[in-house]
Amino acid sequence: MKVNPFRLRGGLAPLLIATVLLALFPLIGVPQNWLLYLFLFFIYLALANMWNWLAGYCGLISLCQPAFIGIGGYTLALMTWVGLPIWQGLIAGAIIAALFAVIISIPVFRLSGIYFAVGTLIVPELLRLFFLNWRPVGGLLYGKGAGYAVKGATTIPATDIYWLTLIICIGSVLMMRFILRSNLGLGLAAIRDNASSAASSGINVFKLKFYSFVGSAAITGLAGAAFYIQQGFIEPTSAFNVRWTMVLMLATVIGGVRLEEGPAVGAIIVVFLHFLLARYGGVSLLIQGVILVFIMLIAPQGIMGSVRRALSHRTPHLRRQPARTRG
């Protein structure tokens, strides 16, 4: 029997141990900048997990994740301006992002998803232009291009933000575990393998993809909001930036698309790259782009895919499925 490269495996124990260790880090005097790297890792991993859900398991190459991040962030910032507590802003960020996903799903899912990638690409740009021209609260010095401060963010200790993002990150990992082993995961696997068979086996293909899109948007919005608590400030051009798409795509592709542990491994490397390339400024994204294309061509299964192959001692024979729905 050959090895199925997409089999679900792995126990909960390593995850538990890692969580406890990571949670203890701020208490045992781990250096501040380490905590900052880890904070970024948590955010990236949560985002990459959500992208992997769509791209890896639903076949939806979503290019509008920055929209959900920005909406999460903006919802949080604006809620603090009308005097609501930050934790409510976080939750509202997730909810508004999900609602927004519901609205845009009407156009982007049309024509069995042919337009999905480019349709979603427009969304962040649309929002950027919108927020550049919008000033719901505050005086002349705020809103539009100038953006908003997250009020009260400076009073929150860095360690609290660290724990918050750790929770969101582990939450996203557990959520993926649960989804992939649930009926939803089984249905999605069936759709990915063969969309027409899935439909004639009674699966409502659109419905499952729609649920996934909205769910992914909610957690992405939540992670985005958490990120902007740490930043303390949000403005349209960086919030709705294609940079985000690059980060989470790169993390997922490096680690391995459609592999549960792929985003985790990829996110570590992306955080590392982030600081390695920081001094090169504008070249940084260019290099990331080159890496993305290169990995996609040379090792499309990513690091964990290669590791799985090597461990299995056999060459898994993966027949390419004929193209059915694209999206």
């Binding site: 393998d193 068979s197 699966i203």
Partner: protein
């Protein structure tokens, strides 16, 4: 007479300048097994695709138990109790045989996970696939895949089953078993519409045969009579090869 399970009335479908199905009509009564045959390219698979909502007919009506099902999406049609197999098996390649069937039982029939698993085991047993239940389907051979195709659609518990070739590629020794399986399916009360090239299966498994050529019905009747029909013989002999 009872309401037909399936009633195809005056269905026509063009692809560009080509007429794939032309003013085609037939009824299938409850419990019946009907054979649909014809030379390659006669439009049989197109007709199944029309019934199953993959293609929209240019004209004509398709009724299931008296209600119009034209324009419904495949998953709705599945939920109504119509199932189909594909000529070339279309399994979920990265899932195991068992998971393939569980998916269909959960989504096609609305079973809970444990019930779906129980049903899946039963169906695998019925179709002699139990030894392969944990095999990933991309590693299975063509004959097993054809069985699995049948197993998967049975898991949705159809009342009408459209089978697009099940015996092609089987050896003479394997035929009696597939005939037995078809008989068992019928005994469970499932109405069958069978597309098949293997004559032995046709003559033994169905009550009535409809012959299709270039999108049109050229003959209909019990297997013995249809085989002697001059038009049918011409259609087959007229075909190159």
């Amino acid at each position: 007479m009872e309401t037909p399970v399936l009633s195809v009335a005056g269905v026509t479908k063009h692809f560009g300048g080509l007429t794939a199905v032309k003013n085609f009509s037939f009824d299938v009564q409850p419990g019946e097994a009907i054979g649909l045959m014809g030379p390659n390219g006669a439009g049989k698979t197109t007709l199944v695709n029309i019934i199953y909502g993959i293609y929209k007919p240019d004209s004509g009506k398709i009724r299931f138990r008296g209600s119009n099902i034209g324009g419904l999406s495949p998953h709705r049609i599945c939920h109504l109790g119509i199932a189909r197999t594909y000529q070339i098996p279309q399994p979920f390649a990265t899932l195991t045989a068992l998971q393939n069937i569980i998916v269909a039982a959960i989504y096609g029939r609305g079973l809970s996970r444990p019930d779906a698993e129980k049903t899946a085991h039963e169906i695998l047993e019925q179709l002699d696939l139990s030894p392969k239940k944990n095999t990933v389907t991309l590693d299975m051979d063509e004959v097993a895949l054809k069985r699995l195709e049948l197993a998967r659609v049975l898991a949705t518990r159809p009342s009408l089953l459209l089978i697009d070739e099940v015996a092609a590629g089987l050896t003479e020794e394997e035929l009696p078993r597939i005939l037995e399986i078809l008989r068992n399916i019928r005994q469970a009360g499932v109405t069958i519409l069978l597309i098949e090239h293997v004559m032995k299966v046709m003559t033994e498994a169905v009550d009535r045969i409809i012959v299709m050529d270039r999108g049109e019905k050229i003959a209909e009747g019990n297997p013995g009579d249809v085989m002697k029909d001059r038009k049918v013989i011409e259609a087959y002999l007229g075909e190159p090869e």
